[in-house]
Amino acid sequence: MKTYILHRLLGTIPLLLVISFLAFMVIQLSPSDPAEVAVRVNEIVPTEEVLELTREKLGLNKPFLTRYVDWISSAVQGDLGRRYVDDKPVAQELAKALPPTLWLAAVATIITAVCSIGMAFICARYESRPVDYLLRGLIFLGTAVPGFWAGLLLMWLFAVKLDWLPTSGMNSAYSVILPAITLSLTYTATYARLLRNSMVRNKQSNYVLFARARGLYPGTIWRHIFRNSLQSTLTGLGMSLPKLMAGTFVVETIFAWPGLGWLCVTSIFNRDFPVIQAYVLLMAVLFVGFNLLMDILCAAIDPRMRNGSQQ
C-alpha cells in the first residue's frame, strides 16, 4: 500500500508541473501587455516611462522561461507573487478567500448529500409511481435551471417576499443558506439520479431476491441495496468538493460572497494575471489531490486496484 501511495504521489508532480506551465503560458499568450494592465488597473495613464518602471518592478523584462522558473520556484515556497490591483501578496488574498468558499462548498456538499440520498431513496422505493415521476421531474428541472436564475428566484422568494433570510453578503450564520442551496441544486440533481438508477438496478439483483426469500426485514434489505449502490456515487461525491469550489463563480457574485470565485472573476476582469495563475494552480492541486485521495481510498477498500496499478 505504501509503495502504491508513494508511486501515485510522485506521479502527480509532473502532472502539476505541466498544468502550471500551461496555465502560465496561456496567460502569457493574452494580447494584453501585463505591465500596461498593472498600470491601468490603478487608473494610471500608461506612459512609456511608467511602463518601463512597471516592467522592471514585475520582472517582465526577463525571458519567458526565466519568469516561469522564478514563478514556480517561489510558488512552491508559498510566494505566489503580488496582485496588480493593490500590490498585496496573492497567497494572502487566496488564504483570505479560501475559508468562505470552503464553508460554502461544505454546506453545499452536505445539502447535496442529504437531498440526493433522500430523493434517490424515495424514488427507488416508489419506483414508477407518481412520487417517483414528480421527483424525477424536479431533478430534471434542477439540472436544467441556470444557477444565476435559480439564485435570484430563491433570493426573491426567501429574502424579499418571505423576509426569512438576508439577500446577500456574509453577515450572519443564515447567510450561507441561499448560496449553498443554489450551488447544490445541479449537484443534487445529478447525484440523486445516479443513486436512484443504481438503487433500482440493485433492487433487481439476486442478493435482494435471496434476502427476501430469507425473510429479512424490508429495512435491512434497503440498507444493503443502499450500501451497494453508494460505491459508484461515492467517487463522484468525493470529487464534488473541488468541483463545487471551482464552480462558485456565479453564486459568489450573485450572493456577494467574498470567496475564491468572486476573487477570480474580478481578477479576470482586471486581467490580474498573478491571481489568475495562482487560482488555476490552486484548482489543479485541489483536483489532483482529491483524485489521488479517492484513488487511495478505493485502493484501500479494493486491493485489486493496487495490484492493477503496479503491473
Binding site: S32, V45, P46, D86, T167, M170, N171, A256, W262
Partner: protein, 497 residues
C-alpha cells in the same frame, strides 16, 4: 444608512488611484472645492495669486485637525504636496503635478505653491477628489504615501471605522469635524457585485441608496422599473459629461472628412435619447455641453438628416452598389464599432446606429469586448468607431482635452489622422499655461471648432448621474463631479431607522 456599490472601497489612500473616489471624498478634503458656481474655499479660507500667475498663497483654516489629532497646518500641506510630487509618474495624466516647482511653508497657517509656469486650471485641479487631498503626516510610510499609508486619518466629515474587504465599509461621523456635521451617524458601504442583487436588496430594505453614473450601479431599465413602482424616489442630476462616438480619422473609410460628416447627419440622436436612454439624457449637438465654461461657442448643430448624409457620400464618390451598400474604388463602406461588453446600454445604442447607417448604405459591425481588450484597442487605434465618454465636470474641458495628447487614448488615435493634429496637441499644451482668460477663450474656440468641423466625434447625449433611494431618506443631491456622493447632506425623515 446603507449604500450599495458593485465595488469595494479598496485602498483609499488619497494620493493614489486604486480606491473608490466617492469613499476618498468622504474622508479627505482639499484646499478648495469645485462647485457649480466655480471654485470655492474649503481648507484654505482664501488665497492670492501672484501677478505672473506662478505663485499661489493659501491662508489655511485654523483649528482644523486630522482625525488622529495631528494639526492641519502649512507643514502638513507641504508634506502632502511633496509626497504627491515625489510620485510624479503616477500622476502623468495631470499636467499640474509636473508643473509644481516647490511647496513652501510661510507660517503656521500660510502655504505657498510655486509653479514652474502659470497653469490656469490650478485651482480646479486642487479641488479634484485625487490626488490633492490631505492625509495626516502620521499615516505616511517612510515619509511618503506612494508605497501605501499606515492609516486613513483625514479632516473630512467621515471616519472609516471598519472595513471588511469585499463585504462592507463602515463610515461614522467625525465628531470633531470643523464644518457642518453630517446628519447621518453612519454610512455602511455594502459591496454587491450583481445589479439584480442590489435591486432585490433595495426592495427588501437592506439598502437605502443606489447612486451612479452611466450604468455603473443601475441600468436604465431597472431605473425606470423602480421609478414606475413608485415605492422609491428617483433623482437625476444636471448633465455632467459628454457621451459621444469617436470617428477614427486614421482608418480607411472614416479617414475621409466627407464620410465622417455624413455619419454626423446619419445618426438619429433623438431616437437614441428617447428609445435607449428613455429620455433621461438630452441630445448633444456639440462634443462638450455649452453649459461648460469656455464651451458655449455657438457651433453649428448637425441635425438628423439622412438625405443630406447620402448627398455628402454621393459627392465624395461613395456610390450605392446593387446590393444596397456603398462602394468607392471597389472598396465597400464597412465600419466597426467597438464597445465595452460589460455595458449593455452601449450595445443597444450601437444597434440603433447600425440601422441608421444601413439606411445610408454603410455597413456597421458592432463588436463588444471585455474592458481590458477594449482599452487595448484604443491604444492601437484599430477601430473606426468607438465609444467615448468624457470625465465630466470639473474635469471638462481642461483634463479631457489634455488627455487627447496621450497616445494610449482612443481620442489621440482617432485624431492622429487629422491634418492639423500636431497643431492641435501644441495648442492644447499652450492653452494650459495661458495666463489670460481672453486668450484662453479664443484658444478653446479654435480647438473645439477645429474638432467640430473635422467631425471626429459624433456627440450623442450629455450623460447624467442617477440616484434611487428609499422614501425615508431625504436630502439626496449631486456633487459637482459624478464621482462624488454627497452623503453629508442626507438624513432620514423619521428617526425610526
Amino acid at each position: 444608512m446603507s449604500y450599495a456599490s458593485t465595488k469595494d472601497i479598496r485602498n483609499i489612500n488619497p494620493h493614489l488611484y486604486s480606491g473608490e473616489m466617492a469613499a476618498q471624498n468622504m474622508v479627505f478634503e482639499p484646499l478648495v472645492i469645485n462647485t457649480t458656481e466655480g471654485v470655492k474655499p474649503w481648507l484654505a479660507e482664501s488665497w492670492e495669486i501672484s501677478p505672473d500667475g506662478k505663485e499661489y498663497t493659501f491662508h489655511l483654516r485654523k483649528g482644523v485637525h486630522f482625525t488622529d489629532g495631528a494639526p492641519f497646518n502649512a507643514e502638513a500641506v507641504k508634506l502632502n504636496m511633496d509626497a504627491i510630487v515625489a510620485n510624479k509618474p503616477r500622476h502623468a495624466w495631470l499636467d499640474m503635478v509636473n508643473l509644481i516647482d516647490r511647496n513652501e511653508v510661510i507660517d503656521e497657517h500660510t502655504f505657498k505653491l510655486v509653479m514652474k509656469h502659470p497653469y490656469y486650471p490650478t485651482l480646479v485641479e486642487l479641488g479634484l477628489v485625487r490626488p490633492f487631498r490631505f492625509i495626516s503626516p502620521n499615516c505616511f510610510v517612510n515619509g511618503q504615501t506612494k508605497d501605501g499609508v499606515s492609516g486613513y486619518a483625514g479632516t473630512g466629515p467621515w471616519v472609516l471605522t471598519e472595513h471588511k474587504d469585499k463585504q462592507y465599509a463602515l463610515f461614522t461621523t467625525n465628531k470633531n469635524y470643523w464644518g457642518t456635521m453630517p446628519k447621518l451617524d453612519t454610512v455602511r458601504w455594502r459591496v454587491m457585485p450583481d445589479h439584480q442583487t442590489i435591486m432585490l436588496a433595495l426592495q427588501k430594505g437592506e439598502i437605502d441608496l443606489l447612486f451612479g453614473s452611466d450604468g455603473d450601479m443601475l441600468n436604465l431599465d431597472a431605473f425606470n422599473a423602480l421609478q414606475k413602482e413608485g415605492k422609491y424616489v428617483t433623482a437625476i442630476s444636471a448633465p455632467v459629461a459628454s457621451r459621444a462616438i469617436l470617428l477614427n480619422a486614421h482608418q480607411p473609410v472614416t479617414e475621409e472628412k466627407a464620410v465622417r460628416e455624413a455619419l454626423q447627419y446619419a445618426v438619429n440622436k433623438q431616437a437614441i435619447a428617447e428609445g435607449v436612454l428613455n429620455g433621461t439624457e438630452s441630445v448633444a449637438d456639440t462634443l462638450i455641453s455649452p453649459t461648460v465654461h469656455y464651451c458655449d461657442l455657438g457651433l453649428p448643430a448637425r441635425h438628423y438628416d439622412p438625405a443630406k448624409a447620402a448627398e455628402l457620400l454621393d459627392a465624395a464618390g461613395w456610390k450605392t452598389g446593387e446590393d444596397g451598400w456603398r462602394y468607392k474604388d471597389g472598396k465597400k463602406a464597412v465600419v466597426r464599432l467597438y464597445y465595452n461588453s460589460q455595458n449593455a446600454q452601449e450595445r443597444t445604442i450601437g444597434e440603433y446606429m447600425q440601422s441608421d447607417l444601413k439606411k445610408i448604405g454603410i455597413e456597421m459591425k458592432i463588436i463588444g469586448e471585455e474592458k481590458q481588450a477594449f482599452l487595448d484597442r484604443q491604444k492601437t487605434g484599430d477601430f473606426e468607431l468607438q465609444y467615448s465618454l468624457s470625465w465630466g465636470t470639473p474635469y471638462d474641458p481642461q483634463s479631457y482635452l489634455s488627455s487627447w495628447r496621450i497616445p494610449a487614448h482612443g481620442d489621440y488615435q482617432a485624431q492622429v489622422g487629422l491634418e492639423r493634429k500636431e497643431w492641435l496637441d501644441k495648442a492644447i499644451t499652450e492653452l494650459m499655461i495661458e495666463p489670460t482668460e481672453d486668450a484662453r477663450k479664443k484658444m478653446y474656440r479654435d480647438i473645439l471648432t477645429y474638432i467640430h468641423d473635422e467631425g471626429v466625434y459624433i456627440p450623442l447625449t450629455y450623460s447624467r448621474t442617477k440616484a434611487v433611494h428609499s422614501k425615508a431618506l431625504q436630502g439626496v443631491g449631486f456633487g459637482a463631479s459624478q464621482y462624488e456622493i454627497p452623503f453629508e447632506t442626507m438624513y432620514f425623515q423619521n428617526s425610526t431607522r
